[in-house]
Subunit: 163 residues, 2 copies
């Protein structure tokens, strides 16, 4: 049983346990691989308009996403989200469920579109997942991501009009 | 005679006189059209890695740009710039001179590429100028900019590898 709900303060330890290895790996998010827990919390919890968690009744928190405006005022009708799913529970539909949830939440908050600014091209499962969710690759940024293992790799801008 | 040099504190009034009407118009930057001078100063001067001004020996400050990393650490080798030229001195090469200056500065600061995230499609002189400067339109964002006069219009992601 998977519950998807708004982040609550006591969820942070669980979110961080999912998020930290992803950030340390340096393969999908541009944040520094040695980012402090406090800075990660600021960016995942404090800055966004909303943060959501996926809670498995056996495993606890297995995923999370944030949602925020991608630009200020005259671009503020387009939101941006970032997602994370714990390594041991991938390919089970959690990422897709979070993405669907985020699109509904975005519409309910008045956003008209969703944009991912830096989808790492080598992160093929993510690219395929967003495409299945109706996102288009609208741009390719040559060498825009410095992958911890592979060096400079391309990244995609992906976009979906929500209404 | 046009001098292009680093912003100094006493330049702010001149920069703001160029920047304010552009922001109030709501046709090219996503910032709120009623943005305060203090917030504009924070975004144009304090946040960026560098701010530069174009000074005409008769007219004073006629243009400016900022330069900053477009993403954090693993995307921090790509910079972002924003430019402004006073309405009465456009189509005289000042924008191009600022853009060339910014590319040299970016390389000297260690950046490998430059990205514009939200070039408003209806701002055709800007699109053409960046193309002449070697920037590619790498993506089109449908309806991503809420133009003060025209409503929702498309915006381009533009990108140039510098080295």
């Amino acid at each position: 049983m998977l519950e998807i709900r708004t982040f609550e303060t006591q969820d942070w330890a669980g979110v961080w346990s999912v998020l930290e290895p992803v950030l340390r790996a340096g393969e999908s998010y541009p944040l520094a691989t040695d980012i402090s827990e406090a800075e990660a919390r600021r960016l995942w919890i404090d800055v966004p308009a909303a943060t959501v968690v996926a809670v498995d009744d056996q495993q606890g928190i297995v995923g999370s996403y944030y949602l925020k405006p991608n630009q200020p005022a005259l671009g503020g009708h387009v939101c941006n989200c970032g997602y994370v799913v714990v390594a041991g529970a991938r390919q089970q539909g959690i990422g897709g469920a979070l993405c669907e949830h985020s699109q509904r939440l975005a519409v309910s908050l008045g956003f008209r579109a969703m944009q991912y600014n830096l989808v790492v091209a080598t992160n093929e499962p993510a690219v395929r997942l967003w495409q299945r969710q109706g996102f288009d690759i609208v741009g390719r940024l040559p060498g825009a991501f410095r992958h911890a293992e592979r060096g400079f790799v391309d990244a995609f801008v992906m976009y979906k009009t929500l209404r």
